[in-house]
């Protein structure tokens, strides 16, 4: 009798423990991870838009370097960014078509291929951060869990050409936008962490974070920040996203 009661109590404790674990970290059976990612992409950027951003590289001593970019994006795989400031970078433009990236420097006069791992601005942001496509275009959902007010998506790169092999993305349930994204190399090393902050109404029903911060264990003490000032839906011709059009990007503004 004492034994069965003890056994019952043990089972009860185990059940409660399992319930607690289940409640705090539950695989989201009912929710489709791909649907969550699709919603995140939709909430972060419209299908076709123009955008103004400021990039700030902050050094450990507090000194800063700022860049202002005008960008346009169409569909899941096409994006162009034009540097408006500082004067030393003005007129440079970068084009991304899927996994292909090019940099156009007016004085050089012809586009050259660049890689997603490089950085045209220095600092912690690399080219794939600056020319960010939809997450769903580059990553498959390998797993999804629910942690309190957040979903945590485990994303795996679709090809080896993607800058980061895995992402651990925390998504706020209420707004369905990311809060933090940890970016890992194929070796499992943490390359950087992205922090989405300060939700803002950009108009046209677009409410999303207006600040993206990043730090990296590879750049200790350094921080880079992306500030979004204006995001407007815009109709764009496919031909805008071509090498021949790169010298003309400013005409889109």
């Amino acid at each position: 009798m004492r034994l069965s009661k003890r056994f019952f109590n043990q089972n009860k404790i185990l059940a409660l423990l399992l319930l607690a674990v289940f409640c705090t970290t539950t695989p989201v059976m009912a929710l489709d991870g791909n649907e969550i990612l699709k919603q995140v992409d939709k909430n972060l950027q419209p299908e076709s838009y123009e955008m103004y951003r400021k990039l700030i590289n902050i050094e450990p001593d507090g000194s800063k370097k700022e860049f202002v970019l005008y960008s346009v994006k169409k569909g899941q795989e096409k994006m162009v960014a034009l540097f408006l400031s500082p004067a030393s970078e003005k007129g440079r433009s970068t084009l991304r078509l899927g996994e292909n990236m090019w940099l156009y420097i007016p004085a050089v006069g012809k586009p050259i291929r660049i890689t997603s791992l490089q950085s045209v601005v220095g600092g912690v942001f690399n080219n794939s951060d600056i020319l960010r496509l939809d997450y769903g275009a580059e990553y498959d959902v390998a797993g999804v869990t629910e942690e309190g007010a957040k979903y945590v998506l485990d994303l795996k790169a679709k090809t080896t050409a993607i800058a980061y092999d895995r992402l651990k993305m925390s998504v706020e349930k209420k707004t369905m936008v990311p809060t933090t994204i940890e970016c890992y190399a194929a070796s499992g090393m943490l390359i950087k962490t992205l922090y989405y902050k300060k939700n803002k109404d950009f108009g046209g029903g677009l409410v999303r974070p207006s600040v993206l911060e990043t730090d990296s264990p590879l750049y200790k003490g350094y921080k880079s920040v992306m500030v979004y000032a204006k995001i407007n839906k815009k109709k764009l011709a496919d031909e805008v996203f071509s090498l021949n059009y790169l010298p003309r990007v400013d005409e889109l503004r």
């Binding site: 103004y52 400021k54 700030i56 590289n57 800063k64 370097k65 700022e66 202002v68 005008y70 408006l84 400031s85 500082p86 004067a87 030393s88 003005k90 007129g91 078509l97 899927g98 996994e99 292909n100 420097i105 007016p106 004085a107 050089v108 006069g109 012809k110 050259i112 291929r113 890689t115 997603s116 791992l117 490089q118 950085s119 220095g122 600092g123 080896t160 050409a161 993607i162 800058a163 300060k198 600040v211 750049y219 200790k220 003490g221 350094y222 920040v225 500030v227 000032a229 011709a237 031909e239 805008v240 996203f241 071509s242 090498l243 021949n244 059009y245 003309r248 400013d250 005409e251 503004r253």
Partner: protein
């Protein structure tokens, strides 16, 4: 009392502590403000301009045994030369609806220990009419920069040759009329673009391009096919011989790019020094090509390697003949005081022998390391150009710093070396040190 003390604490010490905290950690309070930015400053303007001002100091150690040293300094021999030079480049554009006007002007001034030199050039000045994103019509002086090579471009049929030591510098264009058409698709063929240019050579127009009183045509068909950039290029006209070519560029991996160019000239005429000492015309079919890679390591080390075969270059025997002419000229000058042979050698030099990389087979290597030791905006690197026929070379280590907004500082050294009668062994300089400051506005 307690309440009073508490209020006193809240009213007096707490704000003071807050002030002390804010003063001690100004970044924590300012960071929020710094995240805002005023878009009005970046509103599009009808008229925009910019450019840079440059100041450069060079110290050249002269190779007093070399052919090109003798050719340039036989009257005033010296061991070294210091030079101060400046450049002012003004870029701008005027955009109104579908019409645009673009320009790039450059003025240079140079003072060395021997002479003053200055020039002012219109590098580009052209008007564009853009009825749709699919089409552009250009009229005026424009740079085209065809080809995928970093240091050389065998298919740059309507471009001036670039300096492999400074391949990213602006160049002067040619006057012409161009039509650019673009079309994008959704399949394996993602983009197709056609660029056609009519380039006249008349008195006062493009006179340095080739033979006068001709209108030349050049065309480039660009394809983005299965993530490969492909260009098919052609040039016909009587100012230069007709020529055809192709280039490509693609990423084999996220950090590994490969590119190449090939150009065929069915009947190219080149001035060569004949055994009798005069200039004669060599006419033959030539095929020049370039193959290159760009590789980025996990440590942000970027390496560019290019092999270039220049079929239009001079053979070792032809170069030897020119170097021997200079030796003979020096002998004549020392023995008789006559510089007749030197005058002849200078004419031969201007005909092509004095061009940089005038040989046939070259290897180019450039390695740069981004931000070593966590020093942001510092990029040290080294460039090597090797003449594979005579094994002579130049090696140029450099460091570029762009951490001050709109300023760029570059320190570069060069060692130019080779044996007797080799291209780099007969160059004017044995070494060079250069410090360059640029301010962009």
């Amino acid at each position: 009392m307690i309440s009073s003390r508490s209020n006193h604490f809240q009213r007096g010490i707490l704000p003071r502590l807050l002030v002390v905290f804010l003063l001690a950690f100004p970044g924590s309070g300012q960071a929020e403000d710094d995240y805002s930015f005023d878009l009005e400053e970046f509103e599009k303007k009808t008229f925009a301009w910019g450019g840079y001002a440059e100041l450069k100091w060079d110290h050249l150690d002269l190779n007093q045994d070399a052919a090109f040293y003798r050719l340039n300094f036989y009257r005033e021999p010296r061991a070294s030369l210091d030079r101060l030079s400046s450049i002012l480049q003004l870029d701008g554009n005027f955009n109104k609806d579908k019409i645009a006007f673009n320009w790039r002007l450059q003025a240079t001034a140079r003072q060395d220990e021997i002479a003053w030199d200055d020039s002012a050039d219109v590098f580009e000045a052209f008007a564009s009419y853009k009825p749709t994103p699919l089409a552009t019509i250009d009229l005026g002086k424009k740079v085209f920069k065809w080809g995928k090579g970093y240091a050389w471009n065998p298919v740059g049929f309507i471009d001036r040759p670039k300096d492999p030591n400074n391949p990213e510098e602006a160049l002067e264009g040619f006057i012409g009329v161009g039509l650019d058409l673009i079309k994008s698709y959704g399949g394996s063929l993602q983009t197709i673009a056609l660029t056609t240019v009519a380039l006249p050579v008349w008195q006062g127009v493009n006179e340095d391009f080739g033979e006068s009183d001709n209108v030349n045509l050049a065309a480039k068909l660009y394809l983005l096919y299965r993530d490969i950039d492909i260009d098919l290029v052609g040039f016909i006209g009587n100012s230069r011989s007709s020529r055809y070519g192709a280039d490509f560029s693609t990423n084999l991996a996220v950090n590994f790019e490969i590119h190449g160019e090939v150009a065929h000239l069915p009947a190219q005429k080149t001035k060569v020094l004949s055994p009798s000492g005069g200039l004669s015309i060599r006419e033959e079919a030539e095929t020049s090509y370039l193959l290159g890679i760009r590789y980025l390591t996990v440590n942000d080390l970027t390496t560019i390697v290019e092999f270039y075969h220049n079929d239009d270059g001079y053979s070792e025997a032809e170069m030897d003949r020119f170097f021997q002419l200079v030796v003979d000229a020096d002998g004549q000058y020392l023995a008789t005081g006559s510089d007749a042979l030197y005058q002849q050698a200078q004419l031969v030099s201007l005909s092509g022998y004095g061009k940089p990389q005038s040989g046939r087979n070259y290897l180019y290597l450039k390695t740069t390391k981004k931000e070593p030791f966590d020093i942001l905006y510092l990029t040290p690197g080294v460039t090597a150009i090797v003449n594979l026929d005579d094994n002579s070379y130049t090696i140029s280590p450099e460091a570029v710093y762009s951490g001050f907004e709109n300023w760029e500082l570059r320190l570069r050294g060069s060692v130019i070396n080779g044996g007797y009668f080799t291209e780099n062994g007969e160059k004017q300089n044995s070494s060079k040190l250069e410090f360059r400051v640029r301010y962009f506005f």
